[in-house]
Amino acid sequence: MRPPRHSLGRRVRASLFATPWDAAVTLAVGAVLVFTVPGLLRWALIDAVWLGETKAVCREGGACWAFVTARWRQMLAGFYPEQELWRVGAAAALLAAATAPVAAPRPGRWLWLTPLGVTGAFAVLSGAGLSGLPDVAPEAWGGFFLNVLVGASAILLALPFGILLALGRGSRLPVVKGLCVGFIELVRSVPLITLLFMASYVLPLLVPAGTELDRLTRALVVVTLFSAAYMAEAVRGGLQAVGGGQREAARALGLGSVRTVALVVLPQALRVSIPALVNTFIGVFKDTTLLYVIGLFDVMWIARAALSDFAWQGRELEAYAFVGLVFFAACFALSRWSAALERRLDAAPLGLAAAVKEPA
């Protein structure tokens, strides 16, 4: 027997007009949409100007996307040399590969791809250590791609660090616990922007004399540490959700503490933490728009630089609408992906088993 299929009319009634109150809300929302959407569409699409060299092409009452298209290369990749742009694409592909452990069905199997993908992306972009590729200094990197690069790298590097911090926070060893709590509380209580400024003075003291940390590396370190503190708290919530009976059962089976955590506790804890973790992912990614304050040419810096150009002055609305739209698209995709991941894990859970060495 099949479940009964309801007609469209019946489903619409059930979801929009079930009670008088529902009907009122539906009508009110409908009215607002009828009054706003056509105007918005007219401005954004119909009366919009798409191409042009200066603001002279812009029309009254329509969006001037020409501002964005004229600067598309900078918006996307900053001042990366035009003939080397393929390397940005290659770096993007490497970053995508680096996400395999969180995206693929058997995370344990792909863990090695993360360090490889992230280092690979930086190597391809800088050309350092790769013969045949001309060097491109980080000062030339920028645009939305810089936000993606720093955001994705920081998230991927921070996740294992955050997991360790969360485990350390639950440790019975007072020194380990104290260090982890101290780090988490310290980093969480200081605004990212402050940390970014402080890093210029503090980080050089921490590395051996003579090594120079460029701005980008400093930013990456700071954003990674910052994200790790937040992720640690997200994972801690998950760890608390795993009952003590699980650890006891693992111990009664003879699993040592490392295997108990890797095979029994973490897979369950991470599953529970996904919504909170993805929340921090999205937050970190959006926070990369602060990078312009330390002189990195991220998409916000590019947009502001373009706005200060006489040829485009006054197109703030388009500039910020564009940046907003790009971030919305990326974060919305991230959020849909996490929902899909949750569904998939409920069907076939996290295979961390391969991360712990298995005999052949």
Partner: protein
């Protein structure tokens, strides 16, 4: 070794939880192949006793030896001895993120270093034995309580324990599922497994146990064969407990 040493030897065992003196000098010896049922009122220390026997709780005095190996001795040997016990919990404690089969093969693969195929073959045989082989690829949440507890028994057996410890294995079950779990336990008993069973199932204690141990307030008050124990309990506290539970 097991010829000369009892499977389990507990001597003068003490356990405190903070100020609470929960085990107050417990002595218990279980021969290889013997089935012992532990009875006693709530809070008398039954769970604590069997958790000390497999080292889930460290003891605060006295000694626990498994086949002659002292659990407070050198760490490596103690760990190996601990692994000769299998434990079945009241609340099953199956790993919800793994299938029934993966629950069974986890420790054989990662602790005993069995090859995956071998571990799966052995575990499937055990799942046949507890009669849930057809559910091997399901998650615990898809099984009934009785099926989950039988899976938990198979999981413990997969490590080929010398001694099986049961802590009220049927107390969390709906009445109609108690029988199927007790059947599996009776089968184990027939096959000669050494078993220590904390239970409130008097019928099981009567039929399957070689010896019944009665605990109260952290001490073993009385132990006897089931016939003797139920027919002529010698202690007033035992009689009070039995009259309450059989009423």
């Amino acid at each position: 070794m097991s010829d000369t040493h009892p499977a389990v030897a507990v001597r003068g065992l003490h356990k405190w939880f903070g100020q609470a003196h929960v085990l107050r000098g417990v002595d218990l010896e279980v021969r290889s192949g013997e089935k012992v049922c532990v009875l006693g009122p709530s809070g008398s220390g039954k769970s604590t006793l069997i958790r000390c026997i497999n080292g889930l709780e460290p003891s605060d005095g006295g000694r626990v030896a498994l086949a002659g190996v002292d659990l407070s001795g050198p760490r490596k040997q103690a760990e190996a001895a601990r692994r000769t016990t299998g434990m079945v919990f009241q609340s099953f404690n199956l790993f919800p993120h793994l299938t029934v089969l993966e629950n069974c093969t986890l420790a054989p693969i990662h602790v005993s270093k069995l090859k995956k195929a071998d571990a799966e073959a052995e575990s499937m045989a055990l799942l046949e034995r507890v009669r849930i082989a057809e559910h091997a690829r399901k998650r615990p949440a898809q099984l009934s309580g009785g099926q989950q507890q039988r899976a938990a028994i198979a999981r413990a057996l997969a490590m080929q324990p010398q001694v099986m410890l049961f802590d009220e294995p049927t107390s969390a079950l709906d009445p109609e599922m108690v029988g199927e779990v007790l059947d599996v336990m009776r089968g184990l008993a027939r096959d000669g497994m050494t078993m220590i069973v904390v239970t409130h199932e008097m019928s099981f204690a009567r039929q399957a146990a070689d010896r019944v141990v009665f605990m109260d307030e952290g001490l073993i008050v009385e132990q006897a064969s089931p016939t003797e124990f139920f027919a002529a309990p010698s202690h007033a506290r035992t009689r009070a407990f039995l009259s309450r539970i059989l009423a």
